[in-house]
């Protein structure tokens, strides 16, 4: 299974590139395409509706983060409340209510969706139509942080079990088993992420190039660079005329860099912006 992340500034054409890439890959093997953008537009691109559909041999998913979050929190709440005292139920209820409405959890839900799909298998290629740069960067680093947190919890839980074993003898511990499962699953997903291809989409505008430069310096890698909207006409308002000086020479540039390294791209962007 190979993962492809298509990322870039908002509006540069990530969805178009992701859909095209998925279409090309689907000729070689089973392909799924998932959008982690909270304002997803894969449905608009394919003129289809719903959170999941099949089109041109591609399995397309655009999960609705708020409803997935509500559903997941409801399940956890049911499981927890089935086994605790009513007093605690009152104490904990607000946390579940807050969690299901907290927008910062949308990114985690999207991470879960991609992780679930990637680990479940069933396809040879998984193309992720990412959200705009900020959301994508958060997504990239969330997995690592989550793994650290699970490992930390596991380590302290094991310490506790060792101490308990000295007084009460060895017993099975459901929490340790659960943490172990989560660590292994998150590690497996991280391995997939490390072997993933990053397709960066940009366009020849100063804003987009500057954002690309900042992002690449942070990620320090890129596998494919797509410079989109090169041949089309760029209509700029008068107020942005200054930028035109940067953009016009770019129109004659080659639309892609061959086998790029992020350093080369960064250097090239710096030259253009100078």
């Amino acid at each position: 299974m190979r993962l492809f992340f298509v990322a870039g500034k908002g509006g540069v054409g990530k969805t178009t590139v992701a859909a095209t890439l998925a279409y090309l890959l689907s000729r070689k093997g089973k392909t799924a395409l998932i959008s982690t953008d909270l304002a997803h537009s894969l449905g608009d691109f394919f003129a289809m509706q719903g959170e999941e559909f099949q089109v041109a041999g591609i399995r397309v998913l655009q999960p609705d983060a708020p409803s997935r979050l509500r559903e997941r929190v409801k399940n956890w709440e049911r499981e927890f409340f089935s086994n605790i005292s009513p007093t605690l139920r009152e104490d904990f209820s607000p946390f579940f209510r807050f969690a299901e409405k907290d927008p910062s959890n949308y990114d985690l839900i999207m991470l879960e969706e991609v992780k679930g799909l990637a680990l479940k298998g069933g396809q040879e290629h998984l193309v992720v139509d990412s959200g705009p740069t900020g959301q994508f960067l958060k997504f990239l680093f969330l997995g690592d942080k989550l793994l650290e947190w699970y490992r930390l919890l596991r380590r302290w839980r094991r310490k506790y079990l060792k101490l308990r074993e000295m007084t009460k003898g060895k017993t099975q511990d459901a929490m340790e088993e659960f943490l172990e499962k989560r660590v292994q699953e998150t590690e497996a997903f991280r391995r997939l992420m490390q072997g993933a291809f990053l397709v960066w989409v940009t366009e020849p505008t100063a804003l987009s190039l500057r954002e690309t430069l900042r992002a690449l310096t942070q990620i320090r890698r890129v596998d494919f660079l797509v410079v989109n909207k090169v041949k089309g006409e760029i209509a700029l308002p008068e107020s942005l005329a200054k930028l035109r000086r940067i953009e016009l020479p770019l129109l004659d540039e080659e639309p892609t860099f061959a086998s790029p390294s992020w350093e080369k791209i960064a250097e090239r962007i710096r030259e253009i912006l100078r």
């Binding site: 929190v73 956890w76 709440e77 499981e79 927890f80 086994n83 605790i84 005292s85 007093t87 605690l88 104490d91 904990f92 946390f95 579940f96 969690a99 907290d102 959890n105 985690l108 969330l142 942080k145 989550l146 650290e148 947190w149 490992r151 930390l152 919890l153 380590r155 302290w156 839980r157 310490k159 506790y160 101490l163 308990r164 000295m166 007084t167 459901a174 929490m175 659960f178």
Partner: protein, 89 residues
């Protein structure tokens, strides 16, 4: 002779073994609470980026109104936690 043996074993248990076991149990309880605090940092007023995943862990924890109150109100729990925390980044 039998009485002396019982007395000696009782003395040994009272003076060493029970104390040791009590210490171990107290230590285990404290470490268990560390796991609770690490999982539920948000209850102590600290930001926990994974508070969402902590909800999934709740059924595995032995949470009592007493432990919850300690988690929320006792500042020294955090001091204790961070004094032992090796992996915090």
């Amino acid at each position: 002779m039998g009485k002396l043996k019982d007395w000696l074993s009782g003395f040994f248990r009272g003076a060493f073994s029970d104390t040791l076991f009590a210490d171990l149990e107290r230590e285990a309880k404290e470490v268990e609470e560390i796991v609770l605090v690490l999982a539920l940092l948000q209850f102590s007023g600290l930001e926990n980026p994974f508070s969402f995943y902590a909800l999934e862990l709740l059924p595995f924890m032995e949470i009592t109104p007493y432990s919850l109150r300690r988690l929320i109100s006792k500042e020294e729990r955090l001091g204790y936690l961070f004094s032992r925390f090796e992996g915090w980044a």
